[in-house]
Symmetry: C2
Subunit: 344 residues, 2 copies
Amino acid sequence: MNMREIARRAGVSSATVSRVINGSTIVREDTAQRVRKVLEEVQFIPNPSATTLKYGRSKTYGLIVPDMLNPFFAEFFGAFEDLLIEIDHEVLLTSAQTPEKLLKSIRRMLMRQVDGAVLMASEFDTKSVEPLLRRRVSLTTVDRRTVHVGCSDVSIDYERGFVEAVRHLVSLGHTRIGYIGGMKGLYTTEVRANAFKLAIRGAGVILHPELMRHGNYRVSGGEREVTALMKIAEPPTAILTANDLTALGAAQGLHRLGLFAPHDLSIIGLDDILLSEVCQPPLSTIRTPRKRLAKACLEALDFSKANIESKGIQLSVLTELIVRETTAPPRRRERTGKISRRKS
Amino acid sequence: MNMREIARRAGVSSATVSRVINGSTIVREDTAQRVRKVLEEVQFIPNPSATTLKYGRSKTYGLIVPDMLNPFFAEFFGAFEDLLIEIDHEVLLTSAQTPEKLLKSIRRMLMRQVDGAVLMASEFDTKSVEPLLRRRVSLTTVDRRTVHVGCSDVSIDYERGFVEAVRHLVSLGHTRIGYIGGMKGLYTTEVRANAFKLAIRGAGVILHPELMRHGNYRVSGGEREVTALMKIAEPPTAILTANDLTALGAAQGLHRLGLFAPHDLSIIGLDDILLSEVCQPPLSTIRTPRKRLAKACLEALDFSKANIESKGIQLSVLTELIVRETTAPPRRRERTGKISRRKS
DNA sequence: CTGTTAGCGCTTTCAC
DNA sequence: GTGAAAGCGCTAACAG
């Protein structure tokens, strides 16, 4: 079933059918009625491949995430999809853990003629996205904090988020505040770590470099690093982490040591994934609002699409501190600096 | 850049270029070499819209899940995507919480000319998938346990999984075993509940109907129903749940009551989402293996594609009991049947 | 072994 | 207000 057939049945031309479907105003109402009736009768489903082939637009946006095992990205996908459905577009989702996979993902996006792409994969060098830009696909990065011709960016305001979080910890009485970040070599790792340093200094407490560690944005990193942190002579009384998985891993690692949040260590995560509310104890965290982030991405995408010749825009999304139960005043520490164990 | 241009540069026809790209053997090696060289030089990316338009095949499979907020589906997507990439196909992912959204999802799949679709959305009547079948799109459902012409099914063997879980609980000494299921009205809810009943009877313990409740496959349901369960005169000493989110909710609800797993109640989940290992205490659960499930889905899809005129196949995937820390022998209960509270 | 060609379904000129 | 027709890029049938 195609437009020609619809046209035949309605006694018009396929051009008119196209005009009716696409809401062109220059069709006489009774003609349009007749066409719509047939459309309805046969439950017509148009074939966008034809349009994509002819005009190179696909009504599809690509979304490249580093890892669907991190619930944050699944949750973001949901928010982004909702937005795109409203404007009658499709999402092409790919996960790209490694630079090689990223390259393949980009190639697939290019094949499918996406109208734009949101790139959340942090592990990439600028070279790999060049093909996108060269082919004038509007691109929006998340958290690169730099824009190019045809390439916008949406960043998350870790700076303010961390200031708020550190202020909360300091107000509880913490002065030895640690940080478990992401893996080395990613730009966003630097950004988050710098935001932490800034926040610490801004709060008037001392920055202890030995309390800053590199995790991997996964549970395992949080677990490993909290273990290391708690074993140093003077462990922190509170930590911030680069994301919720790291924080959850830290809570887990703490537990393995026979210690507990917030009793032995206050923990603040980042993202506010759904399960952070459910884990025991519920995680205090810095929420990255998915809806607003998705909206900003779409806005940036639209901008770059409309102004593909000019520099993209830089947008920023604010976070929100969610205080749950992994933050509390520091426990009084014994003179020796040794950890006393609570029975489990 | 298209095949004609490649052909021009290589001094051949576009048909030959097509043959080289698609690995047809009937091209002379030196000709092929020449073409490949040009292909490489210009970093040629073919345009599948043309093929889709001409032949109606898109190298894309649809995946319809009920909810991306449930990490299980995100994790499954990852497994399914990996499989499809290997065979050079695309996934079109849509989430369809409601019957209306499902209808729209199916329409979108049809528009994009998917070669087949996996339907994990449980809330649907057969009518809504009819358009797919009528248009001869190979379909694979998960957990419908019924096949049709052009429609296969992959089911998860809850029966054996629940038997194993109940046996584990009974061996720990439990006899009052409860169940928090999914929402009423879904077929999979019935299947899981029946599997539970069967397992209980098979283990030779008494089935107490008042210990079987309806949740909603989400955290909130587990929380709500565990509260109800623990308030009845003789609460269960252990429960199974319809999925991990429900189990996590139950653990959470228990905590709100000042009670703890496994001390006051043993809990076994279902799915083994990534975070069930991290939550405190780590959740004992029945693992639904994503990779094997994804493989089975693809196999079923392929079967129905190859035999679109005949009935689909019915496959089954086994689960695996993962014992972590939410299961333990039942606590001795006081004579009064009242709950004693442990200090938190 | 290689080239020529038709045609998939759509939208957009350009006529009328 | 409506219709005729071109052409997007690809591949399979057919011709040579």
